[in-house]
Amino acid sequence: MRAARLLAVGWLLHIKMLSRSSFNGVLGLVYPLFFATVAFFLFREGSPHALLYASLGASVMGIWSATSTAAGAALQRERWQGTLELLVAATAHFSLVLLPVTIAMSTIGLYSMATTLLWGRILFGIDVSIVHPVLFAASVVATIVAIGMCGFLLAVSFVRYRTAWALGNLLEYPIWLICGFLVPLSLFPGWVRPISWMLAPTWGMRAIRESALGGSPLPDLGVCLALGAGYTLAGVLVVETMLTAARSRATVSLT
């Protein structure tokens, strides 16, 4: 109960903080425009079905970007503003402190998702009609949570390695590609697919598309959440080791 409350309060306050950043607000308008434009020009010769397929992919790109790049930046910001060492010194398990931060980031990506779909509708006339709205909503929530959990695993390493935030930036574009956000996985060489299958965004993307276009999203949804839970478990298992290493090498407060 206490853990759930800490997760909820942490998530809410970090959402509050992130939504008050005017810089993030401007990016939230510009990035979706870029995503929607790319989707439209890639698939403009296709059917309305293909355009919606691409538009949905572009919208999830924003959620991933918000998490992969922002997770590192957020941890670095915690270092700069001196709050990271207070979080480490608190009595709560560090996983319960960190997880709501990254889930808050992926939740902010929801704003980017909505804006991408809206830009697509306004500028390029992409029709956004969802076949299973409830399953679609469930898929979006599951994808956000799973991407947040993936961000958590990344963020755990950022605590120990001060420059690991660069890894988050490095992962932004490859994940767009190998999780099939814009291009179907079948176009990639066979060795890429097992990597894609290990990534929760791949399954979240599939669940979102299945629910929007009229398929069956539940199996994909299950795999997406199971992988997210796996990332969280891995993060929880290594977080104490990472923290001990950070305390030993004095990287908690160094910027």
Binding site: R2, L6, L13, M17, Q81, T91, A92, S248, A250, V252
Partner: protein
């Protein structure tokens, strides 16, 4: 095992070495010994000061005691819990407050900051509102708690820091230079708050490099310099170190380094420190009591413009200067 000590805070031979690497192709590792064997004990209800210049090892020592840094060697305990092996138990018992602008969520209100840290320190939900209200009252932020921290003055931030550090009502409080950069009135209010913590029975470890602050607040003081404790005792005992000395304060303009070295080497002079005050340099020259050195010192400063010259009784600051410069 730690030697048998009864302190609430116990440090025994604490050592902390930092390793940094430089160079891209030829990596070179540099080791800096920030703390080189520090031992002390703080008794229950005591306000203990750790005094030292910048880079002396105060913050490193405090960070080892609050479990943020693992000592390279040596041991430390807080209320009997080892800071390395029982870090979670230690964290439950301590509050940590540091000085400066950092350590708060600027885009959130003071109330949100306190709510968040109340959760992080497992303050029961039914007690949170009452506890936060009490602390806002204690630090004088009642009525301003819904404003964003980014609009707070430095003094207000510092008071909010103190409230944050006390949320879970810890019996032991670590204050790392809590009044740094705060204006005189704000600093006086903060000192009153710190005094009230000790009056309420909390054990307080305070680091500062303001002598008058340590003199006013602390029951006992340890002076740390270059990673070692060079003296420990009550403010009165530390002042006694320089009781048999005279201080000559010389205000001068355009004093060269060579002239300062000549003063330092003068017979009877035990220590010299120089403070920059706008265009002027103020030389504080300590010498054995009874020696009349003023004319001789002024002769060594030949070429500099001399302003006010005064001889006076030593203060705790003079004791500190003597300890860290000898």
């Amino acid at each position: 095992m730690l030697p048998s000590m009864n302190g609430v805070i116990e440090a025994v031979d604490l050592v902390r070495t930092y390793r940094t690497s430089t160079g891209v192709f030829r990596r070179r590792t540099i080791e800096v010994e920030a703390v080189r064997g520090v031992s002390f004990a703080v008794e229950r209800g005591e306000l203990f000061g750790l005094l030292g210049p910048n880079g002396a090892g105060k913050t490193t020592t405090i960070k080892m005691l609050i479990t943020l840094l693992i000592p390279t060697s040596g041991q430390a305990r807080v209320l009997g819990h080892d800071v390395v092996k029982e870090s979670r138990e230690v964290r439950k018992q301590i509050g940590y407050v540091f000085g400066g602008e950092k350590g708060l969520y600027e885009r959130l209100s003071a109330l949100d900051n306190l709510r968040y840290f109340a959760e992080l320190y497992a303050v029961p939900p039914r007690d949170q509102r009452r506890r936060i209200d009490e602390l806002l009252e204690l630090v004088g932020l009642k009525g301003r708690e819904r404003e964003r921290v980014e609009g707070y003055s430095r003094g207000m931030r510092q008071r909010l820091h103190i409230a944050r550090g006390l949320l879970h009502d810890p019996p032991v409080v670590f204050l790392d230079e809590p009044t740094i950069g705060v204006d005189p009135v704000g600093a006086r209010e903060l000192r009153a708050t710190i005094r009230s913590l000790a009056d309420a029975g909390k054990t307080v470890l305070l680091t500062t490099h303001y002598m008058f602050e340590a003199d006013e607040l602390c029951d006992r003081i340890a002076v740390i310099n270059k990673g070692l404790i060079v003296a420990e005792g009550t403010p009165r005992a530390l002042k006694a170190i320089v009781a048999e000395r005279t201080i000559v304060e010389i205000e001068a303009y355009g004093v060269t380094d060579a002239a300062i070295e000549r003063v330092r080497a003068a017979p009877g002079v035990t220590s010299v420190s120089v403070e920059e005050r706008e265009q002027a340099q103020v030389l504080l020259v300590q010498s054995a009591k009874g020696l009349e050195l003023t004319q001789q010192l002024l002769a060594y400063l030949d070429g500099a413009t001399i302003g006010r010259v005064a001889a006076r009784e030593p203060t705790l600051e003079d004791a500190y200067v003597a300890l860290v410069s000898e």
